[in-house]
């Protein structure tokens, strides 16, 4: 399967460990990733300011993929929902689509809406499938209890057609974790928002929201958290230092992308293949590597 890899803004800046792991793991399952060298921001930050600007920026990236006759793989929940919502709005409203295309004409682009957008979770669970994932595991994550965090925009709003999982009782991440040999369970904060957008309004609120979830995960006895979105990861992984400083604590919860947990179970190199030692990955990895005897 050929897919245009759409990075967005947060993956290349705070999540290139995620990008590396995706580029290393997915090709092993015959997913061929093709870059979009002219891609830009999905425009979601403009949603607060001007709808037309938001819609146009998202449509621009989709038009770039359509030019190559490719479907899109988005790594960020925010980008993914933005592309999906814009695709839906423009399909419902031909007049709006025409207005967006008038702006895209500046770059000789035309948005048609002929492609599909995928989230990593869909590729792993629905395209590759649990059987193939199980077969790829050479070092099962036995003895690990891992909490799943889906992120709001992977699930809500459920009214939008073609959502990756159920909005109130999602299960695909847990199924994948179990296929990797790990133990997992439901917990009350599972669907709680990471609060990343609040960083631009009041960072302390984001830290409070992030900290309350990590604290709960620790209390429930999980060994770590699995995420699929770089914006959530930015809160739960990258911001642990700020939480420690703000709340005078030492949280130390290992937070890895689902694809990184998967890479570990496939005995891929934690640094060369999964980027776990990069400066942008700040939560502890050593306890996991020790337990896996890597």
């Amino acid at each position: 399967m050929d897919l245009a890899l759409y990075l967005g803004c947060t993956v290349p800046t705070y999540g290139y460990d995620y990008e590396l792991a995706i580029r290393k793991v997915l090709p092993k399952f015959d997913i061929n990733l093709i870059d979009l060298p002219e891609a830009g921001c999905c425009g979601l930050p403009f949603g607060d300011l001007d709808s037309l600007a938001w819609l146009t920026m998202s449509a621009r990236n989709m038009a770039l993929a359509e030019e190559k006759k490719l479907d899109i793989l988005a790594l960020c929940n925010g980008c993914y929902l933005s592309l999906e919502e814009v695709k839906h709005f423009l399909a419902e409203d031909p007049e709006l689509k025409e207005r967006v295309n008038q702006l895209l004409a500046e770059e000789d682009l035309e948005y048609k809406g002929t492609h599909s957008n995928y989230l990593v979770l869909e590729i792993l669970h629905d395209v590759i499938g649990l059987e193939k994932i199980k077969q790829s595991v050479t070092k099962p994550l036995t003895g690990f209890r891992i909490a799943a965090h889906y992120g709001c925009h992977a699930l809500r709003p459920s009214k939008l057609p073609g959502r990756p999982d159920d909005s109130e009782t999602p299960i695909k991440m847990e199924r994948i974790l179990e296929a990797l040999g790990a133990d997992t369970m439901d917990y009350p904060e599972r669907l709680a928002c990471c609060g990343t957008k609040e960083y631009s309004y009041d960072p302390e609120i984001t830290l409070k929201l992030g900290y309350s979830k990590l604290k709960a995960i620790k209390e429930y006895g999980f060994d770590g958290l699995a995420t699929i979105c770089p914006l959530c990861q930015y809160v739960y992984d990258y911001s642990q230092g700020s939480m420690d400083a703000t709340f005078k604590t030492k949280i130390q919860v290992p937070v890895l992308y689902l694809i990184q947990w998967m890479g570990l179970a496939m005995e891929m190199d934690p640094e060369e293949d999964l980027g776990l030692e990069f400066m942008i990955h700040t939560s502890p990895v050593e306890p996991i590597l020790e337990k896996l005897q890597i």
């Binding site: 290139y16 580029r23 060298p37 002219e38 300011l49 702006l103 709003p157 009214k159 957008k197 309004y201």
Partner: protein
């Protein structure tokens, strides 16, 4: 908050019509104030004055001026829990988002610098985040390609045709 406004403020039906158009089927008029939205809202618990059911109640009565001048409307985190759980299919999140858009259209600046900084990054790099701080480590990783380079002049030309043109004139 609502009773005082009823006594002292005038409704703005034209602005309400704009909000209605922006939210489409998620008509705020259907709200019967069950407060499920605010009960599930993660920001409401952290920020005084951020109550989605109050925003919707005020919007449906047409007190738009009050709302767009209230800086807390910019605090919505877009988790969409309110939209998901509303038994009347109202979308408080989209009501709030159309209010910030209307505020911006009417010349009101966001209360914090975050959005403007992201805008600045987009017109100089094509991306909302500041790339410069990671370029060092990223460049050394052989298995990662160069960052995308969108045609910035084209992106600027598109954004000039939106209300964001206001920020661009100041930039130029």
């Amino acid at each position: 908050m609502v009773p005082q406004i009823l006594e002292t403020k005038k409704a703005d039906p034209k602005a309400l019509e704009k909000i209605r158009q922006a939210v489409g089927e998620a008509e705020p008029g259907y709200c019967y104030q069950c407060i499920k939205c605010t009960s599930g809202c993660p920001i409401s618990r952290q920020l005084d004055g951020f109550n989605p059911h109050v925003f919707v109640a005020m919007a449906k009565m047409g007190f738009i001026d009050e709302l767009i001048n209230d800086k807390t409307i910019w605090a919505c985190v877009w988790c969409m829990t309110c939209k998901e759980r509303c038994p009347q299919d109202v979308s408080p999140m989209e009501v709030i988002r159309s209010l910030t858009q209307l505020a911006f259209e009417r010349g009101i600046e966001p209360p914090t610098v975050g959005l403007k900084a992201q805008f600045g990054n987009i017109i100089t790099t094509g991306f909302a985040r500041d790339f410069t701080w990671v370029e060092g480590e990223r460049e050394d990783i052989d298995d990662l390609p160069e960052l995308p380079k969108p045609r910035l002049d084209k992106i600027k030309a598109m954004l000039k045709k939106t209300s964001l043109a206001r920020w661009m004139e100041k930039e130029d």
